[in-house]
Structure formats: C-alpha cells, structure tokens
Subunit: 371 residues, 2 copies
C-alpha cells in the first residue's frame, strides 16, 4: 500500500487534461517557497501580467483562483450574483447547463435560452429575450467542451449589444479556449471570465485563471450582503494578489510555478503561432476523419480547433474502441456527455498535442482498432 | 518576461508551507493522465484508504477537496449548514475567527465562545453555553496555527459530550495537526474535519483532505435546499470519488500524485515514529530558545509540536530579524497574526523539517542575527 504511483504512458487526446508540457512538469517539481516570500510575490506579479496579456485585457483583477476551472466559475458567479438577481444564460451543452445551475444555486432568477447541442448558440434569440428586460448578467460558453462548438466573435458582439441594452455584464466561460483560441476580453467587451489550466495551456488541472472588468468590479462594490463563500470572496482574495499582500489562504505554490511556466511557453512560441498551430492540427484531423468516412457533429465555421466532436457510426462500438485505444495504444479520447453519450467522440488537440504528427498517430491507431 | 522562475533556496520554518519532501516534488512532475483513466481511479482509491488510515477513521467520505485547506473548510461548512442553523464555535485564534465567519456567511446563527489567544480553549465554557440548547454543530480548531495552541484529547472529549447533549455534530479544523499529531477522528467522535497538505504532510498547498462521519452524512441527506456552492457540493463530488465515477470537475491530477506520495512517506516512516519525531524536534527547539532567554507564548501541555509560538522581547526588532534570517540565511519563520503581530514569532517544525539538526541550524543563525 505504501508504493509510489507510476502513471501509465498516455497520449491525452480527450477533452482535457492534455499532456502537460515537460517544462511545466519540471517547474512543478521546483522547491516550494513561502506564499509571502518576496520572490513569490514577484512571481505572482508576473503571472498576473502574463494572464492579462493572454486574456487580452488590462483588468487589474486577473488572477488564478486556487481551484479547478469549475471553481473559477463558482468564484466569479458567487461574487457577481446575489439572491434574486436576474440572469440570462445561453445553453447548448453541459457547460452552459452547469453555468445556469451554478447561478441558480446562488439564488439567482435564471432564464435559459436553449440551442440544440452541436449547433451554435442562437445569439439573436438571446438578444430577443434580453430586449426590454433588465438582467444582472448575460452568460455563455466560449468553447463548449461537451459539443465542440465555438461562440464566434460575431456572436459575442451580439451578446455584448444585448448586455448594453439590458444593463447586463457579459460573462464567458473560456475554459477550453484560453491559449488555443483568441479570447480578447477587452476588445470584445467581456466583463468576467473563468478558464482552466489543463486545456490549451498544457498545465495540470488545479487552477482557474479569471478576469473581471471595471464594470464587474463596480458590481462587486455595490453588493448588499457579503459573498456567501468565504473561500471565494474576491474582495479578500484580491487583497492578497494586490499591493496589500494580506494573507487570505495559502496559495498553491507549486501549481503556480507550473502556470507561470506554461504561460511563458505560450509567449515563447508566439500567441498567433500557437493559435495557428491549433487550427492546422484540427484541420488535419478533420480531413483525416472525413477521408475515413466520419462525419463531424459541428458545421464549419462553428467548430472548435482545440476540441473536435465526431459522430460515431452505428456500426462502431464506442466503449470498445475507446478502451482498446487506451489499453493497447495508450491513447485517450473522450466520449460524449449527456444526450451525446455514445453518439460522439471528443478528440482534443490541445497544447503540445496540437500537431499533425500526433494526429497521424491517432488516425493510424484508430485504423488498427477499427480494422 | 518569458523567463522561467527559479525559486531561492529556503528552509521553511514558518506556519506553513514547510519544505516539500524531494520524493513528493518528484511525484508532482510525473506525466499527467486523465481523471477518468482506470489507473487514476485506482490511485484515488489508494488516496482514500491512506487518508482514512491517517485520520483514524472508517468514514467512506474521506477525500481531498480540490482547493487549499480553507477551501476544505468552505466545502464542509457549505454542506453541513443551511441558513438559520445554530452553530457554536470555540474561538482563540485566527482560524477560529475564520471558522465562525465562514459559518456566518452561510447564514448560520453563530455563537462564539472566546478564550484568550495563546491559552487553551475553555471547553467547560463551551459545554456550559451548549447545555440545554440545540446546536447543529459545535466546532473548534485542533491545532490553532495562529497561536500554537493544541486542543488536547481531554478537551475534545468535553466538546464531544457537549455535542451529545445538544444534538450537535463535532467539527474540527485539523489543518496543522494531520500528519504531525494524532487526529483519531473515530476514537474521539469527530463528525467532520478539514485539513491541508502543506503542513505536516510536507506536500505543497493546494488540496484539503476532509472526512465526514455517517452522522454528518445523515445531516447532508436531510438538507432542505441544495448546497449553494455547486463546486463544493459533496453530493456531486462524492459521486466522482465513489463507485459511480460520475464526472463533476477535473481533479487536480498532479497534486494528487503528490498527496499520494506524501501519505506513502508517512506510513513508510511509521505514524507513531513521525509523531515522536515532531515532538522531539519541538522540545529541542523549546529548550534551545529557553536557554537563550526566550519565553514561550503557550504553557505546556497545550503547546503544539508542529508550531511553536515564542514571545519577541521588546529589545528585538521583529521585522528586521525575520528579514535578515530570510535574506541572508534563507530561513523563513513566521510573524504573529492579528493581536499577536509583532509580539510573537511562529516557528514551524513540520514534515522533513521536524528534526534536531534543522533546529540547531535555526538557533545558530538566530544567534548570528541577534549578535
């Protein structure tokens, strides 16, 4: 029982985590220092700057929350919402459902606009529902990890206009986009977002980068009652990440080493080069799958590059193929969630795995398994 | 800006984090695998078993929460409490204050019994306040990290009796005790607890081992409304850690490698041997400090072994000494918090740092700085 754990060799081509970059793995193993050590405080400053650069924002409250991506969602919504607040969420997948549920748990009055899973969010419909009504926030998922659907810049612009009309904050889940697709918070007028580290940043799961605009900070400042979650109270957390350096909770030191390194690798490669690499790898995968007779769930141009959803033909046994890929070839791909369970595979090409060689390797092994 | 972070060499003798064991650092850097990989599910089983062994419990819900120690507190209290619930907290330091505040934020009706900081909790007084009244839970801090005071087995027994009388759950914060002092949840009748990884387990911060008794689970089952925090909802989290393996959030894979390894090291050494080592190192420190004319804040037998609080004589400049220890000698010790700021140092001897050689090194450097 006291033995060490030796992880099997895997190529992680599911919906995340992807394989962690070797440089990030090395960074995780550097000696722990104190959370108030001057050297660590400087590291925190650098992480904030790097996150701002990648998010495309000047928001001062741009920090990693000490929890996974869903914890970032919890933190953002717990701070922005008070019981009775009106919230409008566009839902077309698991993570939209989760967004709405999280807001509902906090006592918000949630209106959902549903689009079919696998199709883009109907932003016109969201705008129509918002029209003439007052909402505290309008939310959607930038990259719906359960379906592989992108919310494009045009759709975001429509949501922004709807927010302007109804006095709402625009809130986006950017878990699967950050580091693989342009997020551009400021240019697109996004007021609040949460992301994750285990997708296109190629860092292990465990942190959630978030960012809040001045408009969102103003909403926090006008709260009538304290945030019900002490752990996620941004007014306390921001005093540790800000110039006060007031202790709130002990930051996850080594995970932050990893995030800092992962962000450094993004800029070393070049942000645009990284996005192009994710796009090239995805197109290579789509071509390869289509050449083999597979159909994509999502129409272009609404397909995500970091995550491809492909329909499973009736003749193929979903579970058997995925198990053989994993057990025999060490390749993980994802199954469908909810109504798409058994109907699609979700193939992630994120971080270092977004390259044609890895795609060829997957296609080759898939041929073997299906042969 | 794209450079890697190179942490300075430190001996971490503050209130935590302590130095991470080299074996744990190595474990953190093992390749990431998927959170639903059969090999990872087996690792989760082992972590649960190891935590049960160290906590001294058969509680099935014994898991690490994907957040730091304070996040474990948030998770436990968010699940056990509903608005209006009566809660009684013994407070004699920062972490008791925090416990009460966290419960209050959740809408509980909180009664606090205060004892002076640096003295043991007056458990008789807690029992007196509880007598004849009905409380949902009675809580206290096992090892008060802000003062260095232990809540001994006798005190815990008094709280347990008070709980029995008022129908309350007994809830303990075991952040600074787990792995350095006996916790023995079942033998002592503790119903719920949260801990941290960066104290006596010598793992980086970022996870919070928690455990809930059947009595506590029954309280969860009788909740009238869903837990307001989706992220910390134990009814969902336990479906991932239980046999269902239903996805809730992506587990912090590499941090869990680290925790598994850290727990393995505890059993490799022997639990009792580890406790004895922490005790020996602390006594060696106390003797050394007293020989130099320092006074301890806390009377025996209420002193914590993993964390010693020592009074700073008026003639000594707190900030200057700590800065010189850190900057010149690479040794971190902690200052006081709240009313004890400037009045005490907090010296942690946790994990691998709990040994006489490290104590001698500290005392030698302290002599140099004070010379």
């Amino acid at each position: 029982m006291d033995a060490s754990f030796c992880p099997p060799t895997r190529i992680l081509l599911g919906p995340g985590p992807c394989n962690t970059s070797p440089e990030v793995l090395e960074a995780l193993s550097r000696p722990t220092i104190g959370h108030l050590d001057p050297a660590f405080l400087e590291l925190m400053n650098q992480i904030g700057n790097r996150l701002r650069r990648l998010f495309g924002t000047e928001n001062s409250l741009t920090i990693p929350i000490s929890a996974t991506g869903s914890g970032g969602m919890q933190a953002v919504l717990s701070n922005l919402l008070e019981p009775g607040d009106a919230v409008l969420v566009g839902v077309h997948g698991v993570f939209g459902v989760r967004f709405a549920e999280c807001a509902r748990r906090l006592g918000a009055d949630v209106t959902e606009v549903h689009s079919d899973w696998g199709t883009p969010l109907d932003c016109e419909e969201v705008a129509k529902v918002a029209s003439g009504k007052s909402f505290k926030l309008i939310g959607a998922v930038h990259a719906e990890t359960s379906t592989g659907v992108l919310l494009g810049a045009e759709g975001i612009a429509k949501l922004r206009a709807a927010c302007d009309e109804s006095g709402a904050l625009l809130v986006l889940d950017t878990v699967t986009s950050l580091g693989g697709l342009p997020v551009e918070l400021d240019a697109r007028g996004v007021d609040a977002t949460w992301s994750g580290t285990q997708k296109c940043l190629a860092c292990p799961p465990g942190l959630s980068p978030i960012s809040l605009s001045q408009r969102a900070m103003d909403v926090l400042g006008r709260r009538e009652r304290p945030v019900s979650s002490w752990y996620f109270d941004l007014s306390l957390i921001s005093q540790y990440w800000g110039s006060e350096r007031a202790y709130h909770h002990t930051a996850p030191i080594n995970m932050l080493y990893g995030l800092h390194e992962a962000l450094g690798l993004v800029f070393e490669e070049g942000i645009d080069e990284r996005y192009a690499r994710h796009a090239d790898a995805a197109r290579h995968l789509w071509n390869g799958l289509e050449a083999r007779g597979f159909e994509m769930l999502v129409e272009e141009p609404h397909r995500l590059f970091p995550l491809t959803s492909v329909r499973i033909p009736d003749s193929i046994d979903d579970a058997k193929v995925r198990a053989e890929l994993l057990d025999v070839h060490g390749i993980e791909i994802g199954g469908g969630l909810g109504p798409l369970a058994g109907a699609i595979w979700r193939i992630g090409l994120m971080g270092q795995n977004a390259n044609k060689g890895t795609v060829d390797q997957l296609l080759h092994k898939l041929d073997e398994v299906l042969d």
